[in-house]
Symmetry: D2
């Protein structure tokens, strides 16, 4: 079923919902999903509307312009328009750990993710055979202190060449440079292996073990310049016990990581994530 999604952000004003609803109704749009949120602190208005294109009176290529002229400009909206075809193009970065990558590939294989995966990039070679078994090209970028900047430039060029829309860091153990991050603002999803803001940085399971927490967790978030401090998309936790070793925390945690990361990807793909400052609105 051909559908369109409109994502709107502006200052809250009376009549916005009426105007958008009227626009869709007037042009014979069959509305499938509508969500809106008014942030009472900032006075910002957020909306997501999805409707069928079959009977819609405006041609696909004209919707953006006509909506902008008739509604968007009136309320000074920031808005984007999305169609379910063609699928977005997602690049996956991995290192040695396979659990998140396999979880994503499994959903891709079964058709759960409406996405194209033109390539996987890694600073290690061990996952190459499995990636290629899924028919996805694997690119090996060994990283050293000396070549890091240069490799990132090559990676960025490759992403551009493959028209990548967004990037998933599936336990990629390299910190991206500000240059890289700024090329994909709110379009790089990372999984951090703790319930942020606890245990920022390296080795969170070691830190959790040392602190003696009874729960561990994982956080899917957009990458920003400040490490592990970007807008949180999804979090979850698992219970642990005094007798669990760090190695067991790692195993228990991996089950949380992979599900949290895949949920974050799912929300991102469905355009259900909106960023407000350093927080997210999830229309789910």
């Amino acid at each position: 079923m051909d559908s369109a999604i409109l994502i709107i952000q502006c200052k809250d004003q009376k009549g916005i919902v009426a105007a958008v609803s009227q626009f869709l109704y007037f042009h014979n749009g069959n509305v499938l999903e509508v969500d809106q949120y008014i942030d009472s602190e900032t006075g910002d208005f957020f909306m997501r509307a999805k409707w069928e294109l079959a009977s819609f009176a405006i041609q696909k290529q004209d919707i953006h312009r006509i909506f902008g002229e008739t509604v968007g400009s009136k309320f000074e909206m920031n808005f984007t328009l999305h169609f379910n075809e063609p699928h977005p193009r997602m690049a996956i970065f991995v290192s040695k750990l396979s659990h998140c990558l396999f979880d994503i590939l499994s959903r891709y294989f079964s058709g759960q993710f409406q996405v194209e995966i033109p390539l996987v990039l890694s600073n290690h070679e061990n996952l190459q055979p499995v990636v290629e078994a899924f028919g996805i090209p694997f690119h090996y970028f060994p990283i050293t202190k000396d070549n890091k900047q240069e490799q990132e430039q090559r990676q960025l060029a490759l992403l551009e060449e493959h028209k990548v829309d967004f990037v998933v860091l599936a336990r990629y153990m390299q910190i991206l440079s500000p240059t890289f991050i700024s090329a994909y603002p709110h379009k790089i999803i990372n999984i951090h292996h703790s319930f942020l803001p606890a245990f920022v940085g390296a080795k969170p399971y070691h830190a959790a073990h040392k602190r003696g927490v009874k729960i561990i967790g994982a956080t899917g978030h957009y990458v920003t310049e400040e490490l592990d401090a970007g807008p949180i998309i999804e979090q979850d936790i698992a219970r642990v016990k005094h007798h669990n070793t760090v190695e067991e925390l790692v195993q228990i945690g991996q089950d949380v990581e992979k599900v949290v990361l895949s949920k974050a990807i799912k929300y991102h793909l469905a355009k259900k994530v909106m960023v407000m400052g350093n927080k997210t609105i999830i229309f789910n």
Copy 2:
């Protein structure tokens, strides 16, 4: 802050959201919350809208009529209108177990529930002192096989006398008659101590123990004629282990029961629950 809530149900038709939004906008309503749901199987449309009354152009007493004339009739809507004052009036039925009752009273005491509790009814006397310590009248209705029908009639009369809007069964260990139930359709909230539909009926913790489940649960639901089969409002679970006795299941389960029941009450009070057939829509 004075506010109104409009609850709407009708067949899905194009233009409903636009019409309702337009109505609120046109009369200068400052919308606080809007939720809608279209059931794709039945083609039913459900909506909940909450707005500030302060600047609203229509007087409180006229809103229902004017909305009906201008919007409701056009779409053949079933709709109800609610104001946050005065608070709804809730009667609590209990037997001997105190955990759900105390949890409700605690929230009432702290102002978390915007509700009046004109009376508590029980078929046992043990909870009378605590109920009265909260300043709430306690009515004792001992029930036997012989007097059950008569006592129910007296209870119904008392509820009517106190203008009770809805009833909460806080682990009340008597089965209500169809006559009683039909007096409060979708206005009697019960807590059942299992994750329904598992373990319907009496002694669900014993049944759970015998089956060897690894999770137990509780279900808050509206009471209908068929036992433990009414529309589910809220459910939650807790993990249990092989070494837990039935008595321990009871204790673990009580923590789930009380929180689930109080959440169901909270949703009901906020008019966030809509019933569709034997299911609920929860706008939360």
Copy 3:
């Protein structure tokens, strides 16, 4: 590290723990883990002890005999002895759905499961390429009403030929015959896609959707003759909402299914599951 695990079951009697502890201590065993459970209803005693073999005074091949002669016979114990090498041999049965299979293969690949997987069997061909990408032989057994009995015989012969220790049904959509089940008593692990005992049988997500539950779940259990009624090893749940379609329940549920099944396998591999009647004791 070479280690041994002793699994004991007998009537509870005074002195059992002392006798077992004394046995291990006397022969210089470095105890790593000990768990015991006394069922107060049945009077049964269950114990699991794991110790290092390096310094142990008894040779591997003599432990079973000597323990039986000195301790086991005295208390009329049923006991089994297990070593961490060689790994147990697990056969996986699948149909078309990939999520549980991939989850198992992912853990196998990363070394999380200490297991051999000599073969995967399926009544469909679609998963063959991925299974083979992991270097595991794939056997296709199309099943019809007419050939079912014959195919099961061939499957059993194949399992025997490959010296399979236990079987995992990773969303295998065929019901095994009593003959098959009796060949692997408490050695066939199934994942059922509901929180049993709710929604036994086919299409539990449809049934859950129809009943309007707020949680769905999955149950890992040993297969017995009665459908979906065997001893439960592990269960978990996920929250769902009124707007989730059956298809969405399926997707949400799959995340629970795969983690629950893999946990059940993990406990089984670590000899942490003991069966008592139709229930399990999980030493975790």
Copy 4:
């Protein structure tokens, strides 16, 4: 049923479990529960054993001495002995918020907690009527910067006078002095309203709201000199959404706080908590 609990801590050595089991068996103790834990990092051994006293060959008053002479001294054990009668004596400190206090009183009322509550202390008067409705004396200690030290001295004297065994801070909004804390080492249980170590200190719900987390939580821990850094006994979390205000986080969080605190109390009462450095071992 009269029972005894032995809590043991020492360096791990071969033969400990055998010696303790032998001691209980030899003196005809019917063992009800045994748990042990060996910390592989520190080489410390922890054990908890519970047995019936009815048939035990040693008189209550002699058990400690005889165990010490025959087993304890041999392994240089730190050990404590506990009987289920008389119940421990617990003092509750509260401020204005009632949810944790009511939850504790509700369990006390229903007999879930095997404890005496000789008094409740508060720096506010609002909860006095309810506390007294439960028949528990209420002591009002208004705290100012000037009188804080003096009031603490009076509180300590009162606790001593009432032979208080341990203290529960049920959302008590005052920081205790090192002097106070050192009088009850690992005997003051606090509930902190975040999933520590995230959001240490004041106003964690505000901090959680600002950071945009998708889960909030609560932590029950022993109080040590460093704020919110003592050994964690229990933690749990609840999911929150972008539209939840700080006030809603507070309400959602209170349901977690009260259950977590009551669980921590329950474990403490059952002698299931052992402290190892800044971590806890929970034999549950």
